[in-house]
Each structure stands twice: as C-alpha cells, then as structure tokens.
C-alpha cells in the first residue's frame, strides 16, 4: 500500500536525527520506536541513501552503515535536528499532559509539571493553540485522596481492604482486593482489582469506596488478570443483565443522555423510547421509581408491575 507523502516525509525527516542520536541502534528497536515494520524502515533507509545535498555525489548524500542488525548514520546532510512541533502536535502533547495533571492520583506528580513546562518552551508559538482547549476532570477531594492512597498501594504492590458501596444492590460490603491499575474513564475514576470475595476482576468507582486500608500483605492478582481495553466505556452487559424498555416524555429525554442506552427511538407526539441494560431488577426498580411519572416502563412487564407495587406499598406509610 502506498504511503501518503504527508505521513512519509515527516517520518523520514525525523528518522535521520533519531538515528544520529543513537549510533549502532538495532534496526528492530528503531523500527519499534518509529512505529514502522523492519521492512518499512529498511525501505525508508534505502530512500534516504539517495537523498542529500545538490551535486548528489559521494560525500553529498546521506550516508550510513547498515548491516543485518544495526544502523549508524555517518553523514546527515544537514538534517541533524528534528522539525519543530506543529500546532496540532503541541496541542495533543500539552493537552494530554494537562489531563494527566488533573487526574486523581497523579495531580501531585511534579514530573508532569516539569515535562509540561519543558514542552511548552520547546514548542514556542505552536503551544498557543493549547490554551484553547481545557480539560477538567473535576474530582471530589474524597476521590482524590482515595486515588492517592491506591496509587501508594499499587506502588508498594500491597493488597487493600475496603468498604465499598455497590449501587446495583444498594449495599455496602467489606472486601479485600489485589489492585491492578487505576483508570479514569469518561471523567470517572476506577480501581481495577482482583476481588477475593468475587474471585474475579472487578472495577470499583473511587467515589463509592467508603473506607480504605493498605495491607502489609503483597497483592497477588492472578497473572494476566485485568488490563482490558476500556476505550469503549467500562460498562459491558453481562449474561445476568436485564434489557429494559422505557418510554420518556419530552421533559425526561435527558435520561437518554445520562445513562448508557442501547437504542433511542423518537415516537409521534414527542415521546422517546429507549432500551438499556439493567444489572438487576432491584436496581431497575429504584431507578425507574426515582425518575417519576415522565418515564413509563414498556418492558419487561414484571418491572412495570414491581414499580407500581412498590409505589402502592410506599404510599401506605403516608395514609396513617
């Protein structure tokens, strides 16, 4: 497949100073760093071999010693430094660093601040676009202190004991977990850990951890546990989950934005029908009841009946 010039040229221009700074580097390592295959890297080097200063005789062309394993640039033809950062590159790196600096558990990391100021000064004018992007994670002080405590436990590779509120079952339980990593997904912080009571990997929301103690015991999550790709969101429906269908009136349409929904259908007269996964009937009952009369359960029927029954039972207390 042909590579576009806009992709190829910046790589070639960066490749010369990259290799120049690392004489005798293994081709394999350079390819990995430059994000190409070894074959592609060798093709790139062959192209650079025929480039150089006008005249294009020996002594004008980029020169290198390339063998089966390693490469050393011996003449760079004047490209000894990389091209400055473009506005997009500066933006991507600076905003990324700022987001890290806002991340609970990292906000006290001064490496981020140091990297940021060095990068801003190296980027110069290109950094100005970054002031047009703000990243705010807005974590509560509790969440931040949990994150710091968990980060310490992760660094010490210690297990933790915690009291955790499970919203789906509306209960608080004590458990011992082996931390795997901290995640911030869509603005929410999670601990991914091996839960010894569940005998499985679980993700725990930091704002639902009520008590937290780092144990002296080493953390021992089973090898290979956790580390799944969460870019599509942390929620994945499981086999026990319940697909529910709700009909929202105009004033309750926000529900479709607030909860992860599977489908949204606009009906005549301004109603919207949504389907979403509920982890169990108990959670679905509490959610639907709390949404009031702008939301009506279409399916399953047992949920609609449970909601009506709950409301009738609750009313008895007020009729004394």
């Amino acid at each position: 497949m042909a590579i576009s010039v806009s992709e190829h040229l910046p790589r070639l221009l960066a490749m010369v100073p990259y290799l120049l700074a690392r004489p005798g580097i293994r081709v394999e390592e350079a390819a990995a760093d430059l994000g190409v295959t070894e074959t592609q890297l060798r093709q790139d080097l062959n192209l650079l071999f025929v480039c150089g200063l006008p005249g294009y005789g020996p002594g004008d062309l980029i020169d290198m010693v390339l063998d089966d394993d390693t490469v050393t640039i011996t003449y760079h033809a004047g490209i000894d430094r990389p091209l400055r950062l473009t506005a997009d590159e500066a933006l991507a790196l600076i905003v990324g660093l700022r987001a890290l600096g806002e991340t609970p558990g990292l906000s006290q990391d001064d490496a981020i601040d140091r990297a940021l100021s060095k990068l801003e000064s190296a980027a110069g004018d290109a950094a100005s676009a970054a002031s047009r992007v703000a990243v705010k994670l807005r974590t509560s002080p509790t969440e931040a202190s949990r994150a710091n405590a968990l980060r310490a436990a992760l660094e010490h590779r210690h297990a933790v004991r915690m009291t955790y509120y499970t919203a789906t079952r509306d209960e608080t339980t004590d458990r011992v977990v082996d931390p795997i990593r901290l995640l911030v997904v869509d603005g929410r912080s999670y601990l991914e850990a091996w839960c010894r009571s569940a005998d499985a990997v679980r993700r725990f929301r930091l704002d639902r951890i009520d008590e937290l103690t780092e144990l002296d015991e080493p953390a021992a999550p089973p090898p290979g546990a956790g580390g799944d790709d969460v870019t599509g969101g942390v929620f994945k429906p499981g086999p026990g989950d319940l697909l529910i269908t709700l009909r929202l009136s105009r004033s309750a349409r926000w529900v479709a934005e607030y909860y992860p929904v599977e489908s949204v259908t606009h009906k005549h007269g301004g109603d919207t029908e949504i389907t979403m996964w509920a982890s169990d009937l108990g959670w679905a009952r509490r959610m639907v009841l709390g949404l009031g009369t702008d939301v009506r359960v279409v399916a399953p029927v047992e949920l609609a009946e449970a909601v009506r029954h709950d409301a009738q039972q609750a009313l008895l207390a007020y009729q004394e």
């Binding site: 100073p17 650079l48 490209i79 490496a111 676009a129 009952r285 959610m287 359960v297 207390a317």
Partner: protein, 326 residues
C-alpha cells in the same frame, strides 16, 4: 509515484536548509534532484512550476517554514530558503520520569486525528534524543471518550473559521442549524463541549458535542474573528455553580436498607419505631431529593420538611396508578 515525490521533497528540504541565500525557482530546478527539465520547453516548464507550487504547499502544511523573498527592487523573482532556527525543534532534555509522563500523555487521545498528531509529536521528541520507554506506565491511566468532531473543531479554532452544525437539545423535537465562531473546546467528565460566539443568537454559547447531529463543517475564510483574550472556557460549560438553598431533610429508613442514602447522611439514629432508623440528609433541590427518596419505595418514609414529603406523596400516588406495558 509517491516515493519519487517524497524523495524530491527530502532533497528540497536539504537544499533549502543548506543555503544561506534565497534560491529562485529556476535555481532550484537546476540544482535539486527531481526537478530537472528543459526550461525552453514551455509545457515542461509549466509542469515544473505546478509541481513546485504543490511541493511548497505540502511542506508548509507539514510545518516546514519555507521563507519567501522578492530578490530586489530590480529583480521581481521570488527566492526561497529555510531558516534553520525556524525549522529546528529547540533543545529539549527530559528526565526519565518526565519522558514517561509525555509517553502516557499521548495515550490521552483516542480521537483519530489528534492521536496521530500525538504520535508524530512523540516521534520528533525521540528524534531530539529524548528516550521514551513505550512500556513505561504510570499507575493511573486516563481514557477520554473519542468524539470525531473534536478534530474539525480544533482546526476551526486554530484557523479562526466559523463552524456550522445541526444541534438537537433533548427537549427539541427537531435539530436546529447553528452557526458558531468557536473559541475553544472543553473536555469535562468524559464529555466534549465547544464554546464560542453563537452567530444566530449573537451571544456566547456552549454546545455539547454528543448533541450534534451529523458532521460539523467549517465555512468561510480563516481569521474572520478574534476570540476574547484570556477567556475561561470551562466557566461557560459549568455556568454558575454556587449552591442555592441548602437544606436538611429527615426521613425514616428501614433498618438494614437504603445503604445509598445512609452514605450521604449527616446523622443516623435508631427511631422510636422498631425496625426503623431516623436519617438526616443534606439536599439542595427538594424535587431531586423527592425523586431519590421515591426510588427506595417502601423502605423510606419522608418526614420533614413538608414540601419534600408532599412531593414524595404526589410522585408515589402517580406511580401507583400507572399502567405498565404497551
């Protein structure tokens, strides 16, 4: 074909970097490999000129600063060169922990365009001699939702071009066409927003990208507006956040139930009624508290204040009579 062009462009960069004086197009044609042609052949010369224009534009798009100068008052021909100090990334030395932070920062982007900008930026840092261990991790990984429109919006912000898009607020039945001079973008709690001057309403507005229907399109010429200096973008997204009324409600909660309410309680006491506790809850908006209490069904009874109690009863009464199913 593209390999030939890439090769020519590398040679052009090397030549323009190595020259102190400005070179005219015909000097470039005579010296840089890949541009050779017979200048007397009209068609060949025109084709060279087109090729050279395209190459210059390509270099500028990639951020290569090609300088231009009219040679003298007598000679109207334009000359070109690349000033080394404008071309080169300034010296940058990162400590291992700083390099690790930069490596991790690149993973912040899952938006396609900026992910590749992050990768090419990282490549330039590596070329400057910074060693970024690709396996280095910090114990926290932030992942931000991708929104394909962010790319278009950031480009429009940078070029100061207006954008237009279809926007549907939840309460609207149909999306409406909006026109905006974008000042910047805000990522907050996993959502992206664009803030700017709404041309239809002649006022500052903030739009949530998840409510945009279809594509965002930039229109009109670049540099058409000046965003206000030192604008605090985030404040437009959050609005006024000072809590309004702060109250305290008293509810009766069945013992062993309503863990969620108990977590936010100010105080929990056993009640006079066996099997029940008395719980005091802080709240801001009586309506949302009432909704929350209704969620717990018969496990909670709202006692004080009267307006919360009344709202709970109203909601329960309505829910108790709702017919389920289709």
């Amino acid at each position: 074909m593209s390999r030939v062009r890439t090769e020519r462009l590398v040679n052009l960069v090397i030549c323009l970097l190595s020259t102190r004086r400005f070179l005219t197009a015909s000097q470039i044609a005579q010296t840089v490999a890949g541009y050779e042609h017979d200048e007397d052949d009209q068609r060949a010369h025109e084709s060279f000129q087109r090729m050279f224009e395209r190459d210059k534009a390509e270099l500028r798009d990639l951020g290569v600063p090609v300088e231009m100068r009219v040679m003298s008052a007598f000679d109207t021909e334009t000359g070109y060169r690349i000033a080394r100090r404008d071309y080169e990334l300034p010296d940058i030395h990162l400590e291992p922990d700083e390099a690790a932070a930069v490596g991790l920062a690149t993973r912040f982007w899952h938006v396609r365009g900026l992910a590749s900008a992050a990768a090419s930026g990282l490549l330039k840092l590596r070329a400057a001699g910074v060693d970024v261990d690709p396996t280095a991790t910090l114990p926290v990984e932030p992942v931000v939702a991708a929104d394909p429109a962010v790319d278009t919006i950031l480009a429009a912000v940078r070029n100061r071009r207006a954008i237009t898009f279809s926007y549907r607020r939840p309460e609207d039945d149909e999306p409406a066409e909006r026109h905006l001079q974008p000042w910047g973008a805000v990522s907050s709690k996993g959502r992206w927003y664009v803030v700017g001057h709404d041309l239809d309403r002649d006022a500052t507005r903030c739009f949530r990208l998840s409510r945009v229907v279809g594509n965002v399109k930039a229109y009109g010429p670049s540099g058409r507006f000046e965003p206000p200096e030192d604008v605090d973008l985030a404040s437009y997204v959050y609005g006024d956040e000072t809590p309004s009324h702060q109250g305290k409600a008293t509810v009766r909660v069945r013992t062993g139930s309503c863990a969620g309410l108990r977590r936010s309680a100010i105080e929990v006491h056993p009640s006079d009624l066996a099997g029940w506790d008395l719980v005091q809850l802080p709240y801001r908006d009586p309506g949302s508290l009432a909704n929350r209490l209704v969620g717990y069904g018969a496990d909670v009874v709202a006692l004080e204040p009267p307006d919360v109690r009344r709202m709970v009863v109203e909601r329960l009464t309505a829910l108790a009579s709702v017919k389920g199913g289709r």
